[in-house]
Subunit: 612 residues, 2 copies
């Protein structure tokens, strides 16, 4: 039939090319999906119905803070492949419900809130009182962990001991969760095809093993009392001393087994015990074509899996290279996007002096950092060189590449590379850039470098440049900026908060946006003058916390950084004329031209230029 | 000093190039201004301080409904000149607090809510009880009339009679307003430089005069007992029979007097008793350079002066030619822009069957309409001809130009003229267009035809086409649209609400937006699939209410329109690829090509094309 009848309720309409009965009806208007559409079991149901196979990944909490940093970076790498969910095991010996960075609770929360992963947290009931468990559950709810795998867990010793004020079966735990928290949680339970459940934490024991190559396999087999088929033994025995060959054989074998399972039509998805490693699992998933890495991003930044943040659609550009820090500092905000920077002029950014914040953003050793950033600094110029080496990607005098800066965890982004030459030039002259983007005018949303969002759209950017520089440069810059009038928006601030800007009514400026078929405009990144004042605290603090502290107290190296911290300004510039050539490089050129002319002559022309 | 110190409260920041002490501080973030910044006396104070002269305009309530329509159109014309405010007199004999379209209350409310004018409503206390006055005040507050001129008013007969249960002085009225409504209202009072106040309504008497030319002047003089200087008498006596000469002399004289006043430095603004006329006042204001008509619009549509609607920043495109109807139907919404179409999928549009609604949108006589739209319709083709004549602007067979249609109050908009040829072509073939816009890619915001918003920005549009057409055409159109996939969004509906569309998740589509220096993106117009279902009720009803009803019941003319109403579809099309050539004309071409080929051949190629 050509048309679909509409009910008297005008909200009920049907899409012409969508034959399924769910989807566009009723709640289609609201940007938050219905209460159940987002639940894990619903996602599974839809994948099973559509025949679209999924994969999921299991991790265990690490033992050390360093291990936690590595694991979070693994989450980021594996998130791009599109797992339906990950799960994090409950490690009773590791204080699993605590705030430690290694606790099960913290790891699961990081996966949801910072890495955008749908996450299932294991929780066991043995050896715990009802009250302890209830406390854990309250905390999980507070952290927006919505999925639980309810398990009995392993006895502490060899024998099972009945818990007086607790639960003895996973079923009791489920009943307790339902009675205390109603339907808040999606609860999974373990069902084993044969016999009695094994403990959920056997991989916990495994991590004490060097789980690699042939020896790892032998240990695993020994531990699990599995029988390895003779044909496999025959193949691996001759290559047992060749780690690479063993690994490749394992990948081949696992891929073949998975193919058989998937082709049987009986298996809707595969769950991988990653043992917190990524190489083999990713390779197997790629061969199975289950790894759905999409070069296109939904937004320029990673959308959080925290249900509260899912409607968030705009962020200040300042934290572009420190997104985890932004999430951390805004975690208590109630609403996105309406409360995106608070409703008033005083957004309640979280406090800065937090170990966890810095810790999250630095996974190099002190030795490595000193090799990159200089074991001894001689003068400001030493600093300029570090920034320049980061931009060029070339080795420094230590023969070491500068792959990160306190403000940038990762090597230069692809789109920043588009401006490499200009960035190198200005950094050499003491314009110490920490954030930038080129202008973009109606490039397809599928563009491999600057594209994002759904197909068929167009993306745009205003050129942006953010840098530290000396008071002397600022003095000249302010004169230069007069010439650019409203074309260039600027904001300039020092560590004391002394601030000068030409922001219109202190309003945010859109600097990244996209126009897509059938949608309203999406404007995911802004330069927000008010948030900038919070960012500057963080940006200045990083000089000291991440760089100066590498050197002995009172050393000349430390003093050089302290001086920069105390006397430099942080500047951001926006070129509003995005369809034309980026004028921000011209602004910097003008600065040095004017500075040079002021030094060399006192003619009336120079005087004139010099007047504000 | 180069920088301004920032207080510990980060919200307090200062703009570098704004030396005034108000403005960007504190509340700068919120889009609603502070409670007092928006008040009339604050606006006056700022204009006095800055030396920026203003003008204001006084009107009286008309006697007839037709007069009300004319007055509203006068408000629209005079609003573009930028009056600081207008005032509306209180006409005790005209049921001034009622819902009649001629009441003082309704006229003032229309000026605020529909025409975007800051409005001051006169209110008198004589011959009314305290309760009656309180009722009026409640109503004024409900209609968001915030400014009152509190007056005693004229006695009913010749003599003043003390009111028992009322007020005898304007001062009493002011006290009453303050005690009952606190600070809600801004209250003005009359103060006369010499002697006892005259009645505020003397122009009320004047409107009984033929207030034009020399005789009008004589009557005015007689009535006001003013002495006309001999030098003026000497000039006008010889030209007393030349109306144009008298008017021009009056304009010259008034302009000179105003200049003297303004140049004295003692007069911050001028208030004009317009006598509900516009020509002379506008001319004087233009000569004084007080008429600040700005070809640029703040948004593509007129922003309401109702404080509740001032933050409204987006409207559906459908009502572009019937904005008063849109305001009327959404007047009960609580919030803009978050509640712009309601928060759910059921926006609470006001009911349609309202005399006032239609009345507001039609200020031609039945005779004129019949001459434009045909005294007798022969077939559908007669209808096509009316639409075509409206587009071309040429006279029809009656020698009459079609300057409006039921869906369009005004002649073709300038930007629509850009597509005149294509529109003419498709209307001739029965694609009866009622709304359209060309695509626009990054044109300067100062563009005289399509520009809007602050200087230095860029404006954009997606091509849009909305039309009625036959079921036969729809049948072919649907096949054609398959080829365009997501490039073209469409929505097709008949009077029964049978509806077909490819809207993504029923989300609105941005079709007009602008990018400006120092601002977030502004997106004032959308195609909203849900609102479209409310608009279609109105769009179909206009066939009957405004057109079919011109003909005798049961007449063939009426039946032709009824058939169109019953069987045609209303279609909207959006071309998402705004940087490229508008493809919507190609869609219509394809429609007629395919239709023609289906009629003339049954070859496999045609069969293939015909398959959905």
């Amino acid at each position: 039939m050509m048309v679909n009848e509409v009910q008297s309720n005008k909200g009920r309409m049907f899409k012409s090319d969508d034959s399924s009965s769910d989807g566009s009806q009723g709640s289609s208007r609201s940007s938050t999906p219905g209460p159940d559409a987002d639940r894990l079991q619903e996602k599974m149901r839809r994948r099973i119905e559509s025949g679209d196979k999924w994969f999921s990944l299991e991790f265990f909490p690490p033992r050390t803070a360093g291990g936690a940093v590595n694991l979070i970076s693994r989450f980021d790498h594996m998130a791009v492949g599109g797992p339906l969910f990950i799960d994090v095991t409950w490690h009773p010996a590791g204080d699993p419900g605590s705030d430690k960075e290694t606790s099960s609770m913290t790891i699961a929360s990081t996966a949801v809130n910072y890495c955008g992963l749908e996450t299932l947290l294991h929780i066991t009931c043995c050896n715990q009182t009802k009250d302890q468990i209830t406390q854990h559950l309250h905390k999980a709810r507070h952290l927006r962990l919505k999925n639980l795998l309810a398990l009995r867990g392993d006895p502490m010793g060899d024998e099972w001991k009945t818990e007086e004020d607790g639960f003895n079966y996973a079923g009791d735990l489920v009943k307790h969760i339902r009675s205390e928290f109603n339907d808040y949680f999606t609860i999974c339970v373990a069902g084993y095809p044969t016999g009695h459940p094994e403990c959920d934490c056997y991989e916990e024991d495994l991590r004490h093993l060097k789980a690699k190559g042939y020896h790892s396999l032998r240990q695993l087999v020994k531990l699990s009392k599995l029988q390895v088929p003779q044909e496999i033994k025959d193949i691996i025995d001759p290559i047992k001393d060749n780690d690479a060959a063993i690994r490749n054989y394992g990948i081949d074998l696992a891929t073949d087994m998975c193919k058989v399972l998937l082709e049987s039509g009986l298996v809707p998805g595969l769950h991988f015990y990653t043992l917190n490693r990524e190489v083999a699992t990713v390779e197997i998933l790629k061969r199975l074509r289950l790894w759905t890495e999409d070069p296109r991003r939904a937004l320029p930044w990673t959308i959080s899996a925290n249900p509260k943040r899912k409607v968030e659609d705009v962020r200040p550009i300042f934290w572009a290279s420190r997104q985890k820090s932004y999430i951390y500092r805004t975690q208590d905000w109630d609403e996105f996007p309406n409360g995106r920077w608070g409703n008033s002029s005083s957004p309640a950014f979280g406090e800065l002096n937090d170990y966890y914040l810095f810790y999250l953003n630095n996974n190099c050793s002190k030795e490595e950092l000193l090799k990159m950033w200089g074991e001894e600094l001689v003068d400001e110029k030493s600093i300029f060189d570090v920034f320049t080496a980061y931009i060029t990607g070339q080795s420094n005098s230590n023969g070491k590449k500068v792959t990160c800066l306190p403000w940038n965890d990762e090597p230069l982004a692809l789109e920043t590379s588009l401006m490499k030459e200009e960035l190198e030039k200005v950094n050499r002259m003491g314009i110490l850039t920490i954030n930038s983007q080129p202008n973009i005018n109606a490039r397809p949303s599928t563009d491999p470098i600057v594209g994002w969002g759904p197909e068929g759209g167009f993306v745009f950017q205003k050129a942006y440049l953010e840098f530290f520089t000396s008071a002397e440069n600022i003095f000249t810059l302010l004169k230069v900026l007069k010439k650019y009038k409203t074309r260039v928006n600027y904001q300039i601030v020092n560590v004391k908060g002394e601030n000068i800007n030409n922001a219109f009514d202190m309003q945010p400026i859109a600097v990244t946006w996209g126009i897509f078929p059938g949608r309203e405009i999406i404007q995911p990144t802004v330069v927000d003058p008010i948030s900038f004042m919070y960012w500057k605290d963080e940006a200045f603090a990083l000089w000291i916390e991440q760089w100066a502290k590498l050197y002995p107290t009172g050393s000349p190296s430390q003093q050089i950084i302290q001086d920069i911290h105390d006397h430099y300004y942080l500047v951001n510039l926006v070129d509003n004329d995005f369809p034309f050539e980026n004028c921000l490089w011209q602004v910097i050129d003008d600065l040095f031209m004017l500075k040079a002319s002021e030094k060399t002559c006192g003619s009336p022309v120079c005087e004139l230029l010099a007047k504000p």
